[in-house]
């Protein structure tokens, strides 16, 4: 009797373990088909990674040089009042362009996809689209936002908010869900975004999940990328 129970327990354990292994092998096999790929693809992959690293190293070097340049400008400014004016203008321009990390008071809006709900007919409305993010950013600017970021991406003069299938892309980089849109500015004015009848309320009514928070100490990172002008030239 005792032996019988033991045997059954063992059998069940073995069965579960076997199933576990089978599932694992299956997933690995599925992955394997893309992992191995052709020789050429592997070659390309390592090239991509190498190029990415090359860029990252170059970018780090550029950041170092820019910091040094800033210090050098400050040196110049401290010894010459005429040049100090130019230096402070450069500093302000960099601040406006999003080339520095900034802090201040403001709001944080978080948008996430809603859960499927039989009462909501159009499932498209549940999903956060690039257009929705674009609308919020436009309203923030309307409310006098001085700096805006989407997740960790700074919104600059040339920032586009687009989509690639279901993924939202900001500054050419993929942005994950939930989407956090942060704005620094006059909190009372920015709070208008949350008033009755606002775009955010429409999102909520459509089944999206919207979170709105005021914050007295927000941080927005600088734009990480190179502002490059190839076509436009300044003219009188």
């Amino acid at each position: 009797m005792d032996k019988k129970v033991e045997a059954i327990i063992l059998a069940i354990m073995c069965f579960i373990l076997t199933i576990g292994i089978c599932i694992q092998i299956n997933t690995v096999n599925n992955n394997g088909s893309t992992v191995s790929g052709s020789q050429q693809e592997n070659n390309l992959k390592s090239q991509v990674l190498k190029m990415k690293e090359k860029y990252e190293n170059q970018y780090a070097e550029l950041e170092r040089a820019e910091r040094e340049l800033e210090k050098e400008r400050e040196n110049i400014a401290s010894s010459n009042t005429e040049l100090a004016e130019l230096e402070s203008k450069i500093k302000k321009a960099n601040l406006l362009l999003g080339n520095t990390n900034v802090t201040g008071t403001g709001i944080k809006v978080t948008l996430s996809d809603g859960k499927a709900d039989p009462k909501i007919l159009d499932a498209e409305n549940l999903i956060v689209h690039a257009e929705n993010v674009l609308a919020v950013v436009n309203e923030m600017k309307n409310a006098g936002a001085e700096a805006i970021s989407i997740n960790e991406e700074r919104v600059t003069n040339t920032t586009a908010i687009s989509c690639d299938g279901n993924i939202i892309i900001v500054n050419g980089k993929k942005v994950g869900s939930p989407i956090q849109i942060t704005a620094i500015g006059f909190v009372e004015l920015l709070s208008n975004l949350n008033r009755p009848g606002s775009t955010l309320e429409t999102f909520k009514n459509n089944g999206k999940i919207v979170d709105f928070k005021k914050n007295s100490n927000l941080e927005i990172p600088k734009y990480t990328g190179v502002l490059n002008f190839k076509y436009a030239k300044t003219v009188k």
Binding site: V28, L44, K54, L69, E87, L96, I161, Y231, T234
Partner: protein, 247 residues
């Protein structure tokens, strides 16, 4: 009898242990392959990715060389105050161009949006006036195509530009200026074929405008001129965050 049972238990124990180990190893493999999504990319995507990183690298390199050059000018003792001043002024000019505080000229496109005349309208087609959202989308498409400067009816698009409808008056407000018109001229500087295909391509935004009674035309030019932003930039609430311990 008892001895046999013990050895059997030990054997089963070892087998179970091995099986558990194998499962953990498997888990690890699966997690690793998920870490780098690059593994799931196809060849065409990889080529695109490689090209993108290459462009980014070259841009960073170019900017680095430029920065080093400027740095050298400031550092050299032989540099006169005048030269320093000129270099500072050049730096400032570049930044102000990026901000939209200078008039700019270059390759680009000029897009005109007009409501269709009655003759042009198809049967049962009605005109929906151009609204702020149309302009927001078009500006965003142009930025996505790499536009370096954009203006709408002469209003330069800068980093704090908003475009809103004034409800009830069907007019559009850009940069706190009111545009009381039904026709728009949007200028953009950048690679003109990229800019054109961003909204005039198949399935582009212009197709959609066409169904709402709006005619869109585009003209490419090597000398599109865009005027500067006339307003001032004011900041009251954001403060530059001091860098933490410099390396």
């Amino acid at each position: 009898m008892k001895k046999g049972k013990i050895s059997m238990t030990i054997t089963i124990g070892i087998v179970c242990f091995l099986l558990v180990m194998i499962i953990f190893m498997q888990f690890k493999v699966v997690r690793q392959s998920e870490e780098t999504n690059i593994n799931t990319m196809q060849e065409a995507e990889l080529r695109q990715e490689l090209a993108n990183w290459k462009i980014k690298y070259e841009e960073a390199k170019e900017k680095y060389d430029e920065t080093s050059e400027t740095l050298k000018t400031y550092k050299e003792e032989s540099t006169s105050d005048n030269q320093t001043k000129e270099t500072l002024e050049k730096e400032l000019e570049n930044l102000e161009m990026a901000l939209g505080k200078t008039n700019v000229e270059g390759e680009g496109v000029i897009i005109t949006l007009n409501e269709k005349t009655e003759k042009e309208l198809a049967d049962e087609e009605e005109i929906t006036p151009i609204n702020a959202q149309d302009l927001i989308y078009i500006v965003n498409y142009l930025k996505d195509a790499g536009a370096e400067a954009i203006s709408i009816n002469g209003e330069r698009i800068v980093n704090n530009t908003y475009i809103v409808d004034i409800v009830g008056e069907s007019i559009i407000k850009i940069n706190s200026k009111y545009l009381r018109t039904n026709s728009y001229e949007i200028k953009a500087i950048g690679n003109s074929s990229y800019l054109e295909s961003s909204i005039f391509g198949k399935g582009g935004y212009v197709e959609q405008l066409n169904t709402t009674g709006i005619n869109a035309k585009i003209e490419r030019s090597n000398r599109v001129r865009i005027s500067k932003y006339e307003g001032d930039f004011e900041t009251k609430y954001m403060q530059e965050k001091e860098l933490e311990t410099k390396k």
